[in-house]
Subunit: 456 residues, 2 copies
């Protein structure tokens, strides 16, 4: 009962582990890691040197080593795979579920991948892996595993239990038993609960549920995640175009996918170009952040050209400079709001979404409403509180109104266009678009001011 709570990782334990590795204290290492979850050991190995990590990994029983390997961060897994002999890796890969094996192999170069596959002893496993490698990583086919239990509709309960016994070692978690006809067409599912509660001689055809949600092998991973969330599924069968059962996706893979995607979206929005964490090295963090910051800086430098272009007018009416930040910030905020609303809709498409035309009209009307409120507010403050002349207040207010309309339009169109082009639309809320919006806003602001204030 010591392992009841999640295993507590600590620096102290890490140190004692390091010491044990240095002293080659097999007994301590084996004993202290016994029963510890693969994910926890992987987190420990991430803190060790490659040599130390390999030492620990090789002390583990094959199946534990496989569990640890699939939980390692991508970089660490790659290093291990490059350092270790293909024969040794192949032995670990054989202990993995086919989907995890494919995830690992997909990280490697094609030569390393082929070397490992060539050394697989289990012919069924290697056929499964080769089959799964054909699918795009981001589709249902790329997420599914070949380990699941299926029963022919003509079997009895006792025959099905026999099949479960036969597959028991390969299929760790069963969830549902999928029911197929003689041609492997998916017919439905039967729960383990029902198997337990039915008489041994009952035919599967008499107890299976035909109302079953399945996904097509080409369905995008994001859509699979949404289906599983919406219908509260812990696993979902995958079928090919002929409705033949080809695999099973379990919810743990979908949870990982969701986490990766929300991290990707966040990184797209904040312009961090690589998968970094606070614990990475200073140079790595700096390198991941600089590209987008530089784009912003180049944008700012272009902005200085725009303002320089209007310098004569600016010199006649210096107060114009004071409202540059107002215009820029409002354009940026409106653009981010619009684009993230669109991104949210794109992520959870529904049959009852507004049509593109309706969407534009509605976005336009919201922008008009917000533009009038914000422009009006600024007019009042500039004229009645700051004491500028009415025409100047009107200029700033009108410019703001135009910027709100423009930023809304850009914020709505950009993610839709990106989505059409197959690019993650979350980028539309990122620095690149914000910068473009800033520049357009500046140009509009000065153009309005020049004509209204007769500064040409």
């Amino acid at each position: 009962m010591e392992q009841l709570k999640a295993f507590e990782l600590s620096r102290e334990f890490l140190e004692s582990l390091r010491e044990a590795i240095a002293q080659e204290d097999h007994a301590y290492l084996t004993q202290s890691l016994e029963g510890v979850n693969g994910a926890d050991i992987a987190a420990l190995l991430d803190e060790l040197s490659l040599e130390e990590a390999l030492y620990v990994l090789r002390l583990q029983p094959k199946s534990s080593a496989a569990d640890i390997l699939i939980e390692l961060e991508e970089n660490a897994a790659l290093k291990v795979a490059r350092e270790v002999d293909p024969v040794e890796i192949a032995a670990w890969v054989e202990e993995m579920d086919s989907d995890d094996a494919v995830d690992l192999l997909n990280m490697l170069g094609s030569k390393e991948r082929e070397d490992i596959i060539a050394h697989l002893q289990d012919k069924e496993k290697s056929a499964n892996i080769l089959d799964l490698l054909r699918y795009d990583e981001d589709t249902a086919g790329g997420l599914m595993a070949k380990e699941y239990i299926k029963a022919n509709q003509n079997w009895t309960v006792v025959q099905t239990i026999e099949e479960i016994r036969r597959q028991a070692e390969k299929v760790e978690k069963i969830y549902s038993i999928y029911v197929v006809d003689n041609k492997q067409h998916l017919l439905g599912r039967v729960s383990l609960k029902k198997i337990i509660l039915s008489a041994s001689s009952t035919k599967i055809s008499a107890i299976y549920e035909p109302d079953l949600i399945s996904v097509d092998s080409h369905m995008p991973g994001e859509a699979v995640a949404e289906v599983m969330r919406k219908y509260d599924l812990e696993s979902v069968p995958v079928v090919n175009a002929k409705n033949k059962l080809v695999g099973r996706i379990t919810v743990d893979d979908v949870l990982d996918l969701i986490r990766e995607q929300s991290e990707e979206d966040l990184q797209a929005m904040t312009g961090i170009s690589d998968d970094i964490e606070e614990s990475d090295s200073i140079f790595r963090i700096s390198k991941a952040r600089l590209p987008w910051l530089l784009i912003g800086v180049v944008g700012g430098l272009l902005g200085s050209q725009i303002i320089g272009f209007f310098e004569e007018g600016l010199s006649k009416y210096l107060a114009l400079a004071s409202f540059i930040p107002l215009v820029g910030a409002t354009g940026g905020n409106v653009g981010i709001q619009s684009s993230s609303l669109v991104v949210q809709t794109l992520a959870a498409k529904s049959a009852f979404d507004d049509s593109p035309a309706q969407r534009f009209i509605k976005g336009f009307l919201v922008a008009v409403l917000n533009g009038v409120v914000l422009g009006g507010f600024v007019f009042m403050v500039v004229v009645f509180i700051y004491g500028f002349e009415a025409i100047f207040g009107f200029t700033v207010g009108l410019a703001l109104f135009c910027v709100v309309l423009l930023a809304s339009f850009m914020g709505t169109v950009t993610p839709l266009v990106l989505d059409r082009l197959g690019i993650n639309p979350a980028i539309a809320s990122g620095p690149f678009i914000t910068t473009a919006n800033d520049l357009l806003g500046l140009a509009v602001y000065f153009a309005v001011a020049m004509s209204l204030l007769n500064l040409n």
Copy 2:
């Protein structure tokens, strides 16, 4: 096998449904909705008027109505609950799992809640609900359900199967059977697979796995989600401080939680103050977006005061105005990057995270590096391409360097402070902080310029 693929919602079907409701065509309504998942019917009802929705809901068998009710959007569920008699609602609530019932009751006012609970016939269900209502909604206790199967370690397999049979109707999905001692202390788990494959007379104590991850009833929901994702769990038992089993959390509830949280984070970052969708009314969308836009505008107006304060210097050196957008945008971008890195670390705390001091030093060093690169780049462009004098290029470059340091600092500190105060740290990447960063950046820029260019 018609329901194999996820049910296709369409406007045509919605129209035919509306017509059938108007004609009170029971037969068509019952037949066309038979076997359709509760989540899909809920999506349909969201498109109907309250009257129409209630008509459909009341035609459904009680258990289907319960499934639909828990899948409705919060607003729609509230409307239904207010319109329908507590006796009728209570009958639906009895068909729900205790966690879903509590989610629904938590949406209602305390009077409505008590009315419904008073009308519950099933005393066990009502005791379970009252028990669950004591927990904070955002903790493991608030997420767990009372429906699960537990077995005493002294039972045999056949006794356990008897218990499963007894609870079969109440517990829809079993996943694991939790093993307890005579005092209800959690000892471990046994899978249904193992139950099926073991002889009837085997004692549970001989086959259960003692290595089991459980969570404390006070653990925050976010942490529960992370534990389930990390350890690939489809369900997790919840224990109280004395390690007694009090409930079970299933992965479907955690998926919903993750989705809600990523939406909340996005809305915090983009400054949309209410849970809106593109399909909401223009006024509702506008109202949700305006508050944060107004804060941005007020910030911009304060910025104009800062610039106005330096107007004399600006009039002597008009080119200063050109670089206002550069300074503002860079400060904003750096601030968002820093804060979202911190937010990401806060969301997935690990024992090996850097200490706060290390974090600040590292953040400072990254900022120095990025500041030098960006400031140097700007210096070169301003002097060698735009042809300004070196002292002016140095001024803009140095100001940018200072702004990068300041924005990094603010971006790191703000989410940490918010987190300490129990506020969602994602707000730190939102408009409020961006605006504050803009203003500080402006002040720094002009202060540097005034002293370096001798403009006082």
